[in-house]
Amino acid sequence: MPPMSKENGSKKDLAGEISAISAQLGLQAAYNRLLRAEVAFKLRKPSLAIYDHAFHFIGGAQKYGLTLIAALRDRFDITILANKEVSHQDFLSWYNLDLAGCRVKVIKLPYFEERRAFHLDPALIPGEAENPFHIISKESGRYDIFVNNSMNEMVYPLSNISVLICHFPERRPRSYFYADRYSYLIYNSRYTALWVEKKWKILPHQHIYPPVDMEAADGGVPKRKAILSVARFEPEGTKRQLEMIEVFLRLNQKWPGLVKGWSFILAGGSGPDNPYLAKLEKIIRGHPGQNIELKVNLPVEELKLLYQQSTLFWHLCGLDHEDPSETEHFGMTTVEAMQNRLVPLVYDGGGLPEIVDHGMNGFRVSSKAELLKYTMTLLGDQALIERLGASAQKKAQIYTRAKFEARVRDFFDDVLKTYVSGRETRPFE
């Protein structure tokens, strides 16, 4: 349906057209028509709202969404939709993103407020309960473009153009499943795309890798003999820190000469009273003098320094897990390590094979034995470390923030062109 042109029709025609659309396709379609006309006639800047039910706490997916709007600030009138109190200051301190000029609108969801839930988990909503996200669906219809960044396919998009950013399809289609109602689906890795097809039976549209900006400002920090692991200390142990400690202990035990002077540092975030973290602490205490260190909830500057100083990077998330949701869907920390010239030794599954090319810029392993094998190979060959580290740093250039922003702008420029031209943008308009 083309937009109302400047030439054709009178006031009466316009009212009639809107009334006909409303009767046939619903109130929202008629409203959308007027929103589109405003933009086509250049009466205002196009509006864009981005929603995430987890904007109120720090996370990789949230960084993705907010970096995306930082790239679009000059093109759109932007509103950030959150479900809990959050401020520009939080975004600045968590992600170093200055989003001044973007409105923050907090829409509380009574279902979760009544339960005093901090984490608003859509998976916990029983099929027979009313959809608590309909409030957001309704809000989505007030903008030209609605971007759902929350892996929450329970929000029914009403805007003219809707974009679902899928970091991984967690749920299978069941009650309140609307992922296929969005105009576009952006995915963060080919691994995610594969699972979108498998689980949701839909073809995602646009691949945009996450922005990774852990590059050192200068390369002046000397490397030391350190193996680094950066991953959240998940209470379920899905990041496999325990298994990595076991491998390092075995190295110490069987090959003390080779590992002499090397340390293993496990950095990552954790909530309070984490039984998994307590277990790791106990194991480390039980093996004194083995050069294993835990660094919990480090400030970003300290983490950056650790990356700059370390030589090898271990990441076993996904090992012995059959469920795709328990593997790394992309692998941000692996890229961060590669940007700092660390040689990655990572689990051969999930999104990690897209990042690490075996034998070219690191090694992919499928067992603890393989991790042991390739680590031993590297520890005895400094030239190989240098070569793979340099190659890893080069590969990591694909994932910089600048590249991400360029891709985002290209995509949204195309979307906007389609919107203004009047071509079809979504099923019910």
Partner: protein, 176 residues
């Protein structure tokens, strides 16, 4: 003319905005159904998903083991004519109760046995899984041991090669 059109767009927008604000139901806004039923495609489920599915299904089955109607299962939401309807239905239930129970007793027994069997199979599955996990740990330890041995063997052969070279170097010069 242009200004008129702009004003008209804004007037209509305000009007629709007001109407839109009054509608709560998304279906009304889009003039269509938005929800669809989805079948569980169990054969595609991962182990973790299957576990959740089995747990939910067992609980559902256990809740409907006994299909025999009782007094409470007959009720009506109608205010006035509800009471006589309930009275007659309960009377009918009382009259046919003996025969209905005769048929459904056996069904109930079958359901109960089936539910118990399901439960037992799930427990058995858990035991097998645990045994597999233990075997996996043993295999993993053996693999690591093999890697270490392989590396030691490599070192031994290279030191042997070095020794051979040293011996060759130390060979006395041939006598004239």
């Amino acid at each position: 003319m242009e200004e008129d059109r702009v004003r008209e767009i804004q007037r209509l927008k305000e009007e629709l905005e007001k109407k839109r604000g009054e509608v709560e139901d998304i279906r009304v806004l889009v003039n269509q159904q938005i929800d669809r039923p989805f079948l569980a495609e169990v054969k595609e489920y991962s182990e973790k998903e299957l576990e959740t599915y089995i747990r939910e299904q067992i609980s559902t089955v256990e809740n409907c083991v006994d299909p025999r109607p009782d007094k409470q299962s007959v009720a009506s939401h109608r205010k006035i004519i509800g009471r006589p309807i309930v009275f007659f239905k309960r009377l009918l239930l009382k009259m046919t109760g003996f025969h209905v129970h005769l048929l459904l007793d056996k069904q109930t027994q079958f359901n109960r046995e089936s539910a118990a069997l399901n439960q037992a199979l799930v427990i058995r599955l858990g035991q097998i899984k645990e045994r597999m996990r233990q075997i996996q740990v043993k295999i993993s330890t053996c693999e690591e041991g093999l890697v270490v041995l392989e590396k030691k063997l490599e070192e031994l052969s290279s030191s042997q090669e070095r020794d051979k070279g040293d011996i060759a170097d130390r060979k006395p010069p041939a006598q004239d």
